[in-house]
Amino acid sequence: MNKKISEDSDSSQVYSTGSKSDEQKLIESAQNGNKSAFGKLIRLHQKRLFRFVYGLLNSFDATEDIVQETFVKAFEKIETFKTGYAFYPWIATIARNRAFNLMQREEKKESLEKLQEVGFNPQSTDLGALDKLLDDENKKRLYKAIAALPVKYRSVFTLRHFEQMDYSEIASYLKIPPGTVDSRLFRARQMLLEAVKDLL
């Protein structure tokens, strides 16, 4: 068993339309102000970024906003991007910070504990506009299950599952002890197992 999640399926997809060096060329071109090159970068990464941010925010509108802001900010700061590095982790960091800022503003102040203890009911979750972007009933089930996770479990699960962050990174990012990451992730997985048992 003892398996470390390597690159997730998205990573291969990211570069499926071109080699890594193609991405570097696009980045260099964008750094010279070429908007269409940056447009290609947007098209390469937007789905993955969207999925990740949605996993955190559970709101289609907010995710749209954050993804757009992220790309705009990335374009503004593209000159500071060090060529040779992968593009996605960079924009994912920008998006993640923005998403967490928003989450903190929206939720932390409103008795976070209460929100976190809200009951787990994946059936009642409304996917809203995201529903149109999922062509499969099982996919919808999975997204509903993630969305129904209380915030503290959802954020840990999303960072681990969509971003492959290790426990210490999650702990330091969320400012919680590594042991708490462990227990929250375990709890999140238990809840998800329960919600999608029939699909396994």
Binding site: M1, R51, A62, E64, V196
Partner: protein
Amino acid sequence: MEHQFYIDRLSAYFDNELKNEEFVIVKEHIDQCDECQKQLRELEKLENLFSTKTELSENDYWEQSAQKIESALGEQNQTEIIPVAEKASLPWWKLTALAASLVLVVLITLEEKEEDGVFQRENNYNSTIEKKDMREEAPVVIDTTIRDELSVGRVELRTEEETGDLGNVEELIEDEDITFHNQPVEKSKSKPQVSSKPKTVKNDLTKQKSKLVEEKDVIDNYEIGKTISTNKKLAESDMLAETTTLIKVEKNFDQSISAKVGEESPQETSDSEVFELMDLAIDNKSTDKDIDSSVESPKLSFNNFQSIEVVTAVNESDQKSTSKITKINYWRRMLETNNELLKDQNKKVISYSKSNKKRSVKSKKSVQNIDLNFVYKQLFEAHYNIAILTTDSTEEQKSIQFLTKHANSVEKEYNSDALYYLQLYKNKQKQD
């Protein structure tokens, strides 16, 4: 060990996150425990399920979304070409200024419709004054001469007055030494009220229009703080003037357009008095018992201005504050007040979200940003001034850390303002 001990570590074991010793212990247990093995298999299935089934479907949405983002990049480029204030989401003063410009345009348009020297916009003018009076709640005394002129309806009497007003409006934007509304009065009073004939009126109107265009350019290019600082050197006392400029711009704009202040109050407001006024305003704000109800208002950050306006009224009625506070205390209190505002703002956003459950997060966010931009700007300004005024190195360090933190963070929305004040601080240090 308890079975639960191993269950608690299954997730970490699955993710290869256990330390060596712990890993060995847990592995030994799992090899012998059917229940743990079953759990582990389920975790693996779950992982595979979420890896393969959470990919979002191909859809027209993605192309539309990419185009939308690309067009947003275009907008971003435009703002680079035209140096508009970077925080376009801070439009209250700008809107006020533009609204004032529009009022002027309307007045001019009406004036152009005049026939046979009959002044046809008398009603509009009066109604503007009345509105202003109601809004200000300040003892604004309308120049009786002007009222008489209006009642007579002679256009030529107004022409000089308006030209004077426009001149003031322009100065209000460009001049950092803006004082309260009594200055425009002096200016207009200093001009002789010479009657001019309709031909002269047309010339004046042309001038007014060109001034309006200039004024609009100034507004468009007006970058908070920066225009002010580049126009003239920043004396220490003028830092406060800079803070209050936005307020004064709004005030003077309105007043220079629609009202003339009474002749009996042409008292110049010195910097020290401004400090007192601002301090009083803060006192007023911080002791405001209705703050909880104001939290519901989407224009929370305007509370300060309202308070300041009230204080101005107090000043006009010659009630001077006897308290003498230092600049540093002022900025500390400014800091405190804005921190309170931030707290209140958070409450506001939450109550907003409670009462508008159907509204999207997007709309909540946009409401929040309008106020926060200004609050943060004031915070940065306060920190900057504390840093340059304080003798306590810890306090200075703390303020600079606050600015640095916000200036360096890519993800924050307010970093350009923080960067600006940090740069100011560095320049100041070099000068010293």
